[in-house]
Symmetry: C2
Subunit: 581 residues, 2 copies
Amino acid sequence: MKASQFLISTLKEAPADAEIVSHQLMTRAGMIKKLGAGIYNYMPMGLRVIRKVEAIVREEMNRAGAIEVSMPVVQPAELWQETGRFEKMGPELLRIQDRHERDFVIQPTSEEVVTDIARQEFKSYKQLPKNLYQIQTKFRDERRPRFGLMRGREFIMKDAYSFDKDRDAAQVSYQTMRAAYKRIFDRFGLQYRAVRADSGAIGGDLSEEFQVIAATGEDAIVYCPDSDYAANIEKAEALAPAQARPAAAQAMAKTATPGKSTCADVAELLKLPLQNTVKSLVLATDERNEAGDIVKTQVWLLLLRGDHDMNEIKVGKVPGLADFRFATVAEIEDHFGCQPGYLGPVNLKKPVKLVVDRDVAVMADWVCGANEADYHLTGVNFGRDLPEPELVADLRNVVAGDKSPDGKGELLIERGIEIGHVFYLGTKYSKAMKATFLAENGKPAEFEMGCYGIGVTRLPAAAIEQNHDERGIIWPDAIAPFTVVVCPIGMDRSEAVKTAAEKLHADLLAAGVDVILDDRGERPGAMFADWELIGVPHRVVLGDRGLQEGMVEYQHRRDTSATKVAVADVLGFITSRVQKS
Amino acid sequence: MKASQFLISTLKEAPADAEIVSHQLMTRAGMIKKLGAGIYNYMPMGLRVIRKVEAIVREEMNRAGAIEVSMPVVQPAELWQETGRFEKMGPELLRIQDRHERDFVIQPTSEEVVTDIARQEFKSYKQLPKNLYQIQTKFRDERRPRFGLMRGREFIMKDAYSFDKDRDAAQVSYQTMRAAYKRIFDRFGLQYRAVRADSGAIGGDLSEEFQVIAATGEDAIVYCPDSDYAANIEKAEALAPAQARPAAAQAMAKTATPGKSTCADVAELLKLPLQNTVKSLVLATDERNEAGDIVKTQVWLLLLRGDHDMNEIKVGKVPGLADFRFATVAEIEDHFGCQPGYLGPVNLKKPVKLVVDRDVAVMADWVCGANEADYHLTGVNFGRDLPEPELVADLRNVVAGDKSPDGKGELLIERGIEIGHVFYLGTKYSKAMKATFLAENGKPAEFEMGCYGIGVTRLPAAAIEQNHDERGIIWPDAIAPFTVVVCPIGMDRSEAVKTAAEKLHADLLAAGVDVILDDRGERPGAMFADWELIGVPHRVVLGDRGLQEGMVEYQHRRDTSATKVAVADVLGFITSRVQKS
């Protein structure tokens, strides 16, 4: 490719709404162009990256025995009504009516349509297992689209769906996909982790996310450096403390803590470790009648150690708390006789249901709010100042230094960006859609399903979050828009430079290298800045002076200086350095 | 590929709504599966064809210097309001509102978005010419979707848009695309014609359709076997007759023609050639005020020879008739004092505007309705029975045997399916969207544009309409789902057959041939019927008896019998017959 025949469009400044580096750099490098909130044109430079991602995904999906189909972007609502998702999903499901006022949706995923295909096509267990996948445009009407391709509304996703005759076979399909995902992400040349994820109502451990490690990631990933344990913080269990509760040593006392409404402020004032304080979180659950009206509200008090954070997924699994919400200030005042900031489990105005985190359950002589503004209690103890807790559960996010759930060391935490998900679905969709096949015993059975996604357009953004510097993007070879750029200095003035540059370009193309020749005639500074911003990993510079000595200059995007290479050797030098994808 | 690992799903019967052979065969061959009216799943077998079409299109677009981008499926209405198409387009433009009640459309094409890109990216004439293309999902909410992929609502289209600094340069871009289209359609291995098409309000000759020749085509194509003239019948000019009008020889007379309301019936009754009759077509045009109310209606009478058909495109170009409609029965009775079937230009009740086809203008002693039920006039003559016509124009479709407009012979007519269109747009969109660049003279100038479409998912349907027999599809090599099928007989019983089949499969794969091995264990009859239906062009059959003689059987899908080929020669035999795409 010659740059003069391509569309290279770099910007000095990032747009004002680009908060994260991948959004800034993809826009500045001319890879994407915003058309509306969360809706982007994939410009030629960006589309090359996306196509390379797609090609690797497709190759590995085919290798794993998955079969490519393509399901419509605009899907009739009927199927979505069969599973109830047409009604249940929020406004992120974009609903449309056609000219005849029939309801349609724009696919956010395709479980319904693929299950409809399966129930028509797979009549017998002999046809199973089958895995159907597509690489297709999706749309989710996010409330607050942001971060460029990281959380767009329109995006490209690879979604695969496996159909099996029983749970054991489904687990094999799951593991096959998991292995394919590892090959895919290995080929991308990114640092990533497969981490356990919450599997929601379906349960079991067959739900893993593939997370690209990046300091700017939205997800917290927990891992144990001494074992292969890794999980999303949503999922990672905080083990019950090994030690028993110490005996009470202090009497309970009320202490003035004027204006100190957080555990950290109180600990500082009282010169106590933060771990001696307990925070009170007030939740509520509503019981409704058939008409949807609230007939009863239960208020809950959760106790967590002052230095710990609540984990909403775990709290949602406490019996009775599946549909919890945070209590209103009115509800809090009604039960505690006090505004938030000074709450505690002692001296309640009205009874609440108490749920205590495992770590709080083993504390003695702790500090909590006194249910009176500007006052806290110290020396509080279970079994004396309040009853022994009946409901003890894991309510908190793990923190660095916690014991690994596999008992093999201590946990560390890093940030990640989810770019893939493998998920065992069970019979959730096949049951709802009466999707059955004839089993070996001659009776109809529901398909055991799995679903497997990769965010094709999110992946380049995640790669950039992980691989960039102050000058721009640093692409891994496998997904770079071009693998090599040939930069001639003064090509318009020097026939020798022109000839050598065009020969190298032609030789590299012939060797199967994805190379671009910058024949735009830009000055060296601007030319180098463009390619450093765009992030092409390998660069060769040719100039008159060097060529007179028979030399060109090679520099990897991560190198701090250039290497002189003899013209005669440069083809072999580069091809040996370029990663074969 | 092994058939056991693929999704092969053939049907004995076509669905009831499949009216045309491509729809029937694509459904029966398991290539598409209907999800809703005009909305189809592209099943694995069909998707392979579509991907091959895409690959050829992409390769030739890149070769022609076009640059691939990808524009969103969901597009903000604002840009469509700039050109007025948001309001002007009918309900085939699918309009949506997002969660914030902002208006969007699903792209039916992308002129607005690509022009928006151009006005931001192409600042100077030095950046021109540029051609941007995409291969993307489109949606048109057709009133009556039908014929499978031929007239679907959701479909895949390759749309390209050229941007040039002036009209001359735009013509060069147009010709470059035209040449690329010829290479593309040549590679598909289809019989096609590039025909002149109507260019609407823009005018000029730079509008051509690529039509796949097929008896079932919706379009009539006119061509001259003695020259390269070819045009859509909408566009093809009917030359003015060379001969002058003969002198009047008959007196005008009223004749009873009870119940004979068509020219054909009247000619038969009066034992006259149909060419001696004249048909009267009544149109109307409405003048509206700013509020959109009709303030004046003009009624028009068109005269065509009895054996000729009106051409609506040509009629729409007669001054004053751009927005014509057919007159209502009430309007007709008001002006002619008679119901349709017996109308004519003589003895009108109220004046109408008369437009006369060129062929009628040179007729003498003709027959037309008497404006009285069950009566016609004979021996009618211009200049005697009615005034000489003031407005004479080409109003009719050409017919076979008409002189070619290039003067080089006589025209023939065949049917075609439009699968591509190249179109010079001029400044229609750049003017509406104020899309300018800095011209060589330092002043802003509007882009000269062209647009170029290929119906990617329609093409396989068109290929089938042209290439099929009673057993199924006959794919050209370039776009066949598989080029070669290896059919072993009794693979489960014979180790020799299994070994030979798997070796041939592996050897063909290694030679770069797209081959499928049918290892499903079907009986020969069912197996052959499947592959004949699916239309794989090359078939090799291996059986125990043949292998004992060292022979296999080769048969092209068009062959009536098989050819014996020595096992040792079969690889070379096939690779020499398979068309390199």
